[in-house]
C-alpha cells in the first residue's frame, strides 16, 4: 500500500497526486469525505487529472474536458475512449493509503 497522507491533506472537492513509489502517478480525490483513486494521467492525452474539475463523482480532464467517473474510471464521452485504472483507497489509523491495482480492468 502506498501512503497518501492525512485525510485533511486532501480538501473536499480536491485531489492530490501520488508520484512516489508508483509506476504511474495516481490522483486521490475527496468527494464529500469519500476518497477515490484513479490513474492521474488522462488516457486521451498527457494531462493531470488531479488538476481537473470535480463535479459529483466525475472529474473533468483540465485540457480537453473529457470526463471520467471516479468510481469506475470510465470516460463519459469523447475525446477519451479508454478508462483510467481505479485503485482502492483505505484509511487506517488516521492515514489514507492507496492499494495500487495491477492491471487495467476490462471495460464493461
Amino acid at each position: 500500500m502506498i501512503l497518501v497522507g492525512r485525510p485533511e491533506d486532501i480538501p473536499l472537492g480536491e485531489a492530490v497526486r501520488v508520484e512516489e513509489g508508483v509506476e504511474a502517478p495516481i490522483a486521490v480525490f475527496n468527494v464529500d469525505g469519500e476518497f477515490f483513486a484513479i490513474d492521474d494521467t488522462c488516457t486521451h492525452q498527457d494531462a493531470s487529472l488531479a488538476d481537473g474539475w470535480v463535479e459529483g463523482c466525475s472529474v473533468e480532464c483540465p485540457l480537453h474536458a473529457a470526463c471520467f467517473d471516479l468510481r469506475t474510471g470510465m470516460p463519459s464521452g469523447p475525446p477519451a475512449k479508454t478508462p483510467v485504472r481505479t485503485h482502492e483507497v483505505v484509511v487506517v489509523d488516521g492515514f489514507v493509503y492507496v492499494r495500487v491495482a495491477q492491471a487495467v480492468e476490462a471495460a464493461a
Binding site: 498527457d46 494531462a47 488538476d51 474539475w53 483540465p62
Partner: protein, 391 residues
C-alpha cells in the same frame, strides 16, 4: 439514408463518423482522408512530437474499438468535386463516391509564404511537416519563426528547448492582441524573452533570401536576420476550393453553416476548421480553428444530417489552449475589443492567474495561465453574450 461520405480524415472527420454510429446510423460510412494515415492528433506536432518526446503511434486518434465503427476508409485520396445536389463526391483518383449525405470536414492548410518554395522554409500542419521540421532543427543553427501566433510561439519554445537559437518576427506591434486584448497579449509576449527567444515585433517580413536554401529573412525596415531554418506561422486557409460549383455556400472564410453544422443543402453538413459557422455562444459567425470545435461541431453535424436535434442545452463557449515556455494557457468564451479585462485569481507576474473579460458586467470570456482547475471553475461561470437582452 444508406451511405454517408465523410470528406476529411482528421479529428472532425473521425468525430463525425463516430457520432453517426452513436446516433444509430447503420448504413455505409465512407471516410475520405487526404493524408495516407489514420486520424491523428495535431496539437502535439508543435510540442512533444517536434521535441521527439513522443512518436507517431502516440498521436493516434483511433483505438482498436473503432474497428466496430465499420468505416470504409479512403486514405491518401483528395476530394476534388461535389456534385451540385450533394449526391456524389469525385476523388482525385477519378473514383466517385455516391452518397445520400455528405459531411464536409476537410480542415485547413497552413498559409504558405508567397513565392517559390525555398529549401529550409517550413510550415507546420501535418505529421510529415513536423518530421521535416524536426530533421531541420536537428542540426541546430538558427531558426526564424515568422508569425508570433500560438503555433509560432509553440514552435519557438520547443526549438529553444532543443538548443536552437530562435528569433520570432511578427508584423503586429503586439502579437496576440487581436485574440487576447493588449493587457494579456503583453503578458504572453513577455514569455519569449524569458524563454531566451528574441522577438522582433511591429516589423513585417519583406522577403526570404537564399539560393539553394534559405539564408536570411529580410525585414521591411531593411534589417536581415540570418536563418538556417524558417517556420512560417501566419495562419491557415480552409480547404474549400474544391466546392466551387457545388452549390454549397462558402467563401474564403470557410463553408457557411449554422451552429449545428447545417449548410444551405439539406443533405450536406460541415464541421471543424473548414467551416465559417454561427457560434451560438457568441451570437456571431466565426471560423473556430480549435481542437474542441472539431470534436463538438462534428458531433452536432452528424446529428443534423440524421435529422436529430443537435443543439446542446447551453451553447458551449469556444475554447482553446496553448503550451509554450512551460506555461499552459487556456482561453474560453468570446472577446471583443470593448470588453473589460480584470485579473480574478492570482498574479500575471507569477504566470499563475485567471483573467476575466466582462461585457456590460457579464463574464463573457476567461483566460488562464497555469491554473487549469481555477480555469475550469471560471469557465462554468461564463454567460453567453448571445443570450444577453438587446440594449
Amino acid at each position: 439514408m444508406r451511405t454517408v461520405a465523410v470528406i476529411g480524415g482528421s479529428l472532425a472527420g473521425i468525430s463525425a463518423a463516430r457520432a453517426l454510429r452513436e446516433h444509430g446510423f447503420d448504413g455505409r460510412v465512407v471516410v475520405v482522408g487526404a493524408e495516407d494515415r489514420l486520424p491523428y492528433d495535431r496539437p502535439p506536432l508543435s510540442k512533444e512530437f517536434l521535441a521527439d518526446k513522443i512518436g507517431i503511434d502516440d498521436l493516434a486518434l483511433t483505438t482498436d474499438a473503432d474497428a466496430e465503427l465499420d468505416l470504409d476508409w479512403r486514405l491518401g485520396e483528395t476530394a476534388v468535386r461535389l456534385d451540385p445536389r450533394g449526391r456524389s463526391v469525385v476523388l482525385a483518383s477519378g473514383q466517385e463516391v455516391a452518397a445520400d449525405g455528405v459531411v464536409l470536414a476537410t480542415g485547413a492548410r497552413a498559409r504558405p509564404w508567397p513565392g517559390d518554395d525555398l529549401p529550409g522554409v517550413h510550415t507546420l500542419r501535418t505529421v510529415d511537416d513536423a518530421i521535416a521540421l524536426r530533421d531541420g532543427l536537428r542540426s541546430g543553427g538558427r531558426l526564424v519563426v515568422i508569425g508570433a501566433g500560438f503555433i509560432g510561439a509553440e514552435v519557438a519554445s520547443t526549438a529553444r528547448d532543443l538548443g536552437v537559437e530562435v528569433t520570432v518576427v511578427e508584423a503586429e506591434r503586439l502579437p496576440l492582441a487581436g485574440v487576447l486584448g493588449p493587457e494579456l497579449a503583453a503578458v504572453c509576449t513577455s514569455l519569449h524573452a524569458e524563454g531566451g527567444v528574441r522577438l522582433i515585433a511591429g516589423t513585417p517580413v519583406a522577403g526570404l533570401v537564399g539560393t539553394d536554401r534559405v539564408r536570411e529573412v529580410r525585414l521591411a525596415d531593411g534589417r536581415a536576420v540570418p536563418a538556417d531554418v524558417v517556420v512560417v506561422g501566419i495562419g491557415a486557409l480552409p480547404n474549400v476550393e474544391w466546392l466551387a460549383g457545388s452549390g454549397v455556400d462558402h467563401d474564403p472564410r470557410g463553408v457557411w453553416t449554422d451552429a449545428a453544422g447545417a449548410t444551405n443543402l439539406p443533405n450536406v453538413v460541415a464541421a471543424g476548421d473548414c467551416t465559417f459557422s454561427h457560434c451560438a455562444y457568441a451570437g456571431v459567425e466565426l471560423r473556430q480553428e480549435h481542437w474542441t470545435n472539431a470534436l463538438q461541431q462534428a458531433s452536432a453535424a452528424a446529428a443534423t444530417l440524421l435529422g436529430r436535434d443537435a443543439a446542446p442545452a447551453r451553447p458551449a463557449p469556444p475554447y482553446f489552449w496553448s503550451d509554450q515556455y512551460g506555461v499552459r494557457m487556456q482561453f474560453a468564451g468570446h472577446r471583443t475589443a470593448d470588453d473589460e479585462v480584470e485579473i480574478i485569481e492570482g498574479d500575471p507576474d507569477s504566470r499563475r492567474f485567471v483573467a476575466g473579460y466582462r461585457r456590460d458586467g457579464r463574464l463573457v470570456a476567461v483566460f488562464a495561465m497555469n491554473q487549469p482547475k481555477l480555469f475550469a471553475k471560471w469557465r462554468r461561470q461564463l454567460a453567453a453574450p448571445a443570450a444577453a437582452p438587446l440594449a
